[in-house]
Symmetry: C2
Subunit: 350 residues, 2 copies
């Protein structure tokens, strides 16, 4: 155990630029397995690369799995973390708690099987098996090595009643339903049951957001999907009161579709990972309404200038992936909502 | 007057890509002065280019004013609006109402002297004097020509008691104090007088945000500035209870400074136009607190992933430049707060 002082946000492990950046913004961090007193060491079992990161690597190397593996190993060796230098994103990992520093506030115990809910882009990571069990052709990376959690970090125990793959898929997007539930709750506290529209309603974060909205007491849930095939899936699920097909990038296409389904929405949730949905989402939202942007393709300036340009009095929230209790809420929604579980399991089967 | 149908958000004037984008996102719009029945025509008096746009043009042409003027004329001629293709931003204009369509909902009358509060980046603009009275060396552009306001647009009468330059400078940033006042009001409604920290507190939007926070009932106002010279200015103004010097990009530097001034903040307002303030602002904010990002240098993904990576339960708002009554609120704050007025007038004198 190290005796120098440590920072709950991991500043003590930043090596480049030393001490001048947080681990996520740093070029390199120290991944060594020896702990500071407030840290936790995890024996790694599986990495799950962020979808955008894996796609970039795979396209760069023309689908050559060996080249992808070599680059992932090189990134982890040089940066001390698995953060794609192009996309900036990381992913998550599953593993077993191997050591708990005496001052760790996380409440973990040696032997706990956990998923880390902070991004790999800031998690000290040391790979010891050369990733020999991974063919470089999927986001799921069997791996041996160690990872470190800081004092201020998040890890959730893997549930015993769900497969690790299913649990990981749910936890990966658990911030969305938790924030939707909170926002709907705020409307109810003011005596208004809101109409909620979810763009990308048949996707992972979208379907959980629809389930969360209804569960929290929304008056009406509208699911927006880009193609009829997804509309059939979502209609069959019963997760939405209305399902409409519309291009979320089309200003009038989207607002007309949402209006026809009982909109405009009081709360619009953007779960579509394509650029250009900022102003259409604003137009589909009632004056005084709220938009929650969960898509990483969101442009800050397009949202800010877009609302001003439309004289739209809307509250726009950056979709924070962390809400206390988010993993439990999402897993519980999945357990209680067979339709959500079926959508997720269908994805696993592909 | 045209007889075809029109859209309150101006879709009918989009020529490239025709009908498939809103005016702000469009490559080109139709700037012709003939009105649709819900539009208003303005005789232009002065354009005020967005600071980021003017800086880009001036640097591109090495300060050659004639070249800058030629490029502005070319942009307006080809796009039908003054939207800098690199920065995407526009600016504002001052002019006199020349014609009001019979179906215009804006409440304007011929002869009103107004400032437009929607961006030039979406305003149909036709320049007729070749900008011959402008030397291409300042953001303030004397101009002759016409501009058009759509049905859903915003224009504010110029106050008679303030110089147009002063009024324009205030209206340019009026969204910030209005949203700060609203957020502080929400805290008070819940029985909590918040501590508010404003990053960039000596600037235009920053000083108005400090004044708005105190006026709305904040318990404590902390102004953060990057250099001692600005600290002296802000301390002399009395707009903040505490003034601290800190680099808003420094994670610990900022949070330590805000903590020493009575933080963490319940509400942090980011008015600093440099990249990299997202995570530092999160660290300077109390759990359960609110961050309002007004800087156009804000990165959506840095904010979203940054909060998750710090396990920070913070509400993050995209600074919407439109809040009903924002211009009146900001002008009224300036009138009632001599310290704000002095800061603004000192800028005009430079």
């Amino acid at each position: 155990m190290r005796s120098t002082s440590s920072s709950p946000v991991g500043l003590h492990r930043v090596t480049d630029p030393a001490g001048a950046a947080l681990p996520q913004a740093a070029r390199a961090i120290d991944p060594s397995p020896e702990l500071w007193p407030d840290e936790v060491r995890i024996d790694v079992e599986t990495l799950n690369l962020d979808a955008a990161s894996f796609r970039q690597l795979s396209e760069k190397h023309g689908g050559d799995g060996d080249a992808v593996r070599a680059e992932v190993l090189d990134i982890v060796r040089t940066r001390g973390k698995m953060q794609n230098p192009v996309t900036g994103s990381g992913g998550m990992l599953i593993g077993t708690v191997a050591e708990v520093g005496p001052q760790s506030p996380l409440g973990l115990a040696v032997g706990d099987r956990v998923a880390t809910l902070v991004s790999l882009s800031l998690t000290p990571l040391n790979i010891t098996d050369g990733l020999t069990r991974w063919d470089g052709r999927s986001e799921r990376v069997p791996a041996q090595g160690t990872a470190v959690l800081f004092g201020r970090s998040i890890a959730a125990p893997l549930p015993v009643d769900l497969s690790p793959d299913l649990a990981l898929m749910v936890m990966d997007v658990c911030g969305a339903p938790a924030l939707v539930a909170r926002v709907v709750g705020e409307y109810l506290d003011r005596g208004q049951a809101p109409t909620v529209a979810v763009l990308g309603g048949a996707g992972k974060s979208g379907s959980l957001s629809l389930a969360a909205a209804r569960d929290a007491g929304a008056a009406r849930c509208i699911g927006v999907v880009p193609v009829e095939r997804e509309a059939v899936l979502l209609r069959d699920s019963g997760l939405a009161d209305e399902v409409v097909v519309a291009d979320a990038r089309s200003p009038l296409g989207l607002s007309d579709a949402v209006a026809a389904a009982g909109g405009p929405a009081d709360v619009t949730v953007v779960c579509v990972d394509v650029p250009g949905c900022e102003q259409p989402a604003i137009l589909a939202t009632a004056q005084g309404g709220t938009i929650i942007y969960f898509s990483m393709a969101t442009s800050f300036s397009a949202a800010a200038l877009g609302a001003e340009g439309l004289a739209a009095d809307v509250r726009m929230l950056v979709g924070n992936g962390y809400v206390p209790g988010h993993a439990e809420l999402a897993l519980d929604l999945l357990r209680r909502t067979p339709a959500v579980r079926r959508l997720f399991e269908a994805r696993l089967a592909h």
